[in-house]
């Protein structure tokens, strides 16, 4: 380099870049990591599982290796009636979310309670059922390992369930299909309260990956969409062809997520459906063709479960 000033310049460059990264990475990292998980963060982690994008268990983003959210109204052990309870079933092989694997995600109090009252240290990946509880004395949320505390095994909980919500697999669909290029999941703090609901708080994201905030809102925010519109029928029509329920919508059709066959086992012919739809658009027929019912465990079921679960 020869010149003295280049040596000085290299030092200045290194110092300024390091200082910049100290202020913009290290300090915010400390600050953000010191925040405890909120109840919402615990629910999201247990609903979505370890990662909703590319991962070892699901490299092609098909929604594999995700927990199942279950709504219970009777006790899985004896069948007696109980208050509606959400349980999160991790069948054998489903990887645990970040909060159960990493030291820093839950926060000190939440972690202490989850270990003392919730017995999460006894959870293993051979099949575990979790609950989210609030400690009455300290008003702190924690995770309960119901397999250890109540003997609820995945098989018992699944057979006792009223319905299962595949929102974990559904979030993978949300990421893969690029829903977040248009729909944000981040009501803004300065407005948005009335139409899109409460903006999220600092601890609401602990353990969630990716957060899919979205940056370019070309469509309504969806963070609380399930609280505004809880109709599965509407969602089904809207995903199959958004113009069926909202003529001005610019959303793409997601009819291909129905797969090959509908709930009755009939082959779905999208081209024939579109021919019928074009007749409806041009006014030749008064009604559009019927939207097929989706079969269980199709990708559209996952996605609708995810959207309706956004409360």
């Amino acid at each position: 380099m020869a010149f003295r000033e280049y040596k000085i310049g290299c030092w200045m460059f290194g110092i300024s870049l390091s200082a910049s990264m100290f202020v913009t990475i290290f300090l915010p990292g400390l600050d953000i990591s010191s925040v405890s998980s909120t109840e919402l963060a615990l629910e999201k982690q247990l609903t979505y599982g370890r990662e909703s994008a590319f991962s070892y268990e699901d490299p092609f983003l098909q929604g594999k290796g995700k927990p199942i959210k279950v709504v219970l109204t009777k006790d899985p052990m004896n069948g007696s009636a109980m208050d509606e309870t959400n349980a999160y079933v991790f069948e054998a092989g489903t990887p645990f979310p970040a909060g159960l694997n990493h030291t820093n995600i839950l926060g000190e109090d939440v972690k202490a309670l989850s270990e003392s009252k919730g017995r999460i240290a006894e959870a293993d990946e051979n099949g575990t059922v979790f609950l989210v509880k609030i400690d009455d004395a300290s008003d702190t949320p924690y995770i309960e390992n119901a397999t250890a505390t109540r003997g609820w095994t995945p098989a018992k909980v699944l057979s006792a369930s009223d319905h299962t919500i595949m929102a974990g697999s559904g979030k993978t669909m949300f990421v893969r299909e690029g829903c977040w290029w248009c729909h944000t999941l981040l009501p803004e703090q300065t407005q948005d309260w009335q139409s899109f609901g409460r903006p999220p708080m600092l601890g609401d994201f602990n353990g969630e990956s990716p957060t899919t905030f979205g940056s370019d809102r070309k469509a309504p925010d969806l963070l609380h969409v399930g609280a505004r519109n809880s109709s599965r029928e509407w969602m089904m029509l809207h995903f199959f062809n958004p113009r069926l329920v909202q003529v001005h919508s610019i959303m793409p059709r997601y009819d291909y997520l129905w797969g090959d066959k509908d709930a009755q086992g009939n082959v779905i012919d999208l081209e024939a459906w579109d021919v019928g739809y074009q007749k409806y658009v041009s006014g030749e027929t008064p009604y559009p063709p019927e939207v097929p019912d989706y079969a269980d465990n199709t990708e559209i079921r996952y996605l609708i479960d995810f959207v309706l679960n956004l409360k």
Binding site: S20, P28, S33, S52, C179, N206, T212, P252
Partner: protein, 468 residues
């Protein structure tokens, strides 16, 4: 290209790597803007292409972004660096063979990366969408060999000092590697939550501010003095530009998340630093425009200067927007609207694309020793680019202001979609013009390589008259 892969270094003509990078960049520009035009059509007429499920908007949107950033912009940068760095050091490129291999593996890697995004295999993080095996490929196979060539050429230079362009080239490649590897840490180490969201935007901000903006500027620092014959107006103002980029442009990442629940001190800090971006911006624009003193006729009659100076002039609204739109006073209105989309295109399709296009036009003529085949086609390309971009920017800015108004008055969203429809059509027309102009450009460069007038040894293409 293939015959040089196994050739001896001494048998490879100088400039080979730069030529391959330059031609590849134009090809990727056509692909990237073609996909962009197609995506825009989807937003205007969602059912128009119904049935082409393999071109779903949610899959193609990020393919457009990465095709233009990694394909067009970055490869045009590589092409520029691989002829400008040796020229400024009065030497040869450190290794043409490495450059040729780099170009081949770059094209293969980019095609693979885009194919995976196309299939929906993504990390789910904007701008760092690639999955981690691809991230590692990009860093170690695409970027580090390229950087090595730039750094080693500068170290082996036969001039005493280092010219402004080369500070930027060397430093930007270094910062790109750091930013790329740190910005993708969330994926390597499974960081989650707000840490991940913040790092995503830390990466997105810095890859723009520490690679694309300074390298585009560095290219104009070379092209303008070289073609006009004027010396750079001020070396010292260049220093101010360089150091204020390093200090101010590397810090405001959090201003991309102003309405998220990040710590308030971080947002305020980022916002103040964001306004300070005006320091390098003003230093740079003044320096280049003052270099043009006495040579302004070339803005009209020299196509490379026309492209370059248009880019520099577009940097003025770009930085005025960029400096102020991220303050809380303005950001609450336009955050997440089409205004931001317009701003992003002002940076990448406005300022930086015009600078790079000039560098590729000029570089290919110098390296091929051929005068540009047709000035008419080049002018046609210039105007399709400028008019297409202007239509795009204007329509998206208006759409963004409509969205902003609707956002603060909490208008039902479908009314926004209805109100935006005409602007979505104009956006698509603008994007399509850019795409068609680029096809003409590739044809023009192909004809230049085959039939352009030979530039005699010791002469510059700019000294020769245009024939067609």
């Amino acid at each position: 290209m293939f015959k040089y892969l196994m050739a001896k270094e001494s048998d490879i003509p100088q400039g080979t790597a730069a030529i391959f990078f330059g031609i590849s960049s134009i090809a990727w520009f056509i692909i990237g803007t073609g996909i962009g035009s197609f995506n825009a059509a989807k937003l205007a007429f969602p059912d128009w292409y119904h049935g082409l499920y393999w071109l779903q908007f949610g899959h193609m949107r990020q393919v457009h972004v990465h095709a233009v950033i990694f394909g067009w912009i970055a490869m045009a940068f590589a092409a520029s660096m691989m002829y400008i760095t040796p020229a400024l050091g009065n030497t040869k490129l450190w290794s043409e063979k490495l450059g040729v291999w780099n170009c081949l593996l770059y094209n293969i890697g980019l095609a693979l990366a885009l194919a995976l995004l196309w299939a929906g295999i993504t990390s789910g993080r904007e701008y760092s969408d690639h999955v981690w095996p691809i991230d590692l490929y990009i860093a170690f196979v695409m970027v580090i060999p390229w950087s090595l060539n730039v750094w080693m050429t500068i170290i082996n230079r036969r001039t005493q000092g280092i010219y402004t362009s080369n500070w930027f080239f060397a430093a930007s490649m270094f910062m790109l590697i750091i930013v790329f590897l740190i910005g993708n840490l969330p994926e390597f180490f499974h960081l989650t939550g707000l840490n991940e969201a913040y790092m995503t935007w830390w990466f997105a901000h810095n890859v723009l501010g520490l690679l694309i903006t300074p390298v585009a500027a560095a290219i104009t620092y070379y092209i303008v003095p070289k073609i006009t014959g004027n010396p750079l107006y001020s070396h010292r103002v260049g220093h101010l530009h360089f150091w204020s980029i390093v200090v101010f442009y590397s810090t405001p990442a959090a201003h991309h998340l102003m309405s998220s629940p990040l710590p308030e001190w971080l947002k305020s800090f980022a916002s103040v630093e964001g306004v300070l971006i005006l320091v390098p911006a003003i230093a740079y624009v003044c320096n280049i425009l003052l270099t043009m003193q006495g040579k302004w006729s070339m803005f009209v009659n020299n196509v490379e200067i026309k492209f370059t100076i248009t880019g520099v002039l577009l940097a003025i609204p770009l930085n005025m927007q960029g400096g102020f739109q991220q303050t809380r006073a303005i950001n609450w209105y336009i955050h997440g609207t089409g205004w931001i989309v317009a701003h992003a295109h002002l940076a990448l399709l406005g300022f930086s694309t015009f600078a790079e296009a000039a560098a590729v036009y000029y570089g290919l003529q110098v390296l091929l020793r051929r005068k540009l085949y047709s000035i008419s086609l080049a002018n046609f390309h210039f105007w399709t680019l400028l008019i297409g971009f202007s239509l795009y920017w204007t329509s998206m800015t208006i759409a963004g202001l409509i969205q902003g108004a609707a956002k603060i008055y909490e208008v039902p969203y479908v009314d926004v979609v209805i109100a935006e429809h005409p602007y979505m059509i104009v956006r698509w027309l603008g994007g399509t013009m850019v795409f068609l102009g680029n096809i003409v450009w590739l044809w023009n460069m192909y004809m230049t390589a085959l039939h352009g007038d030979v530039v005699p040894a010791g002469r510059q293409p700019a000294e020769m008259a245009y024939v067609r």
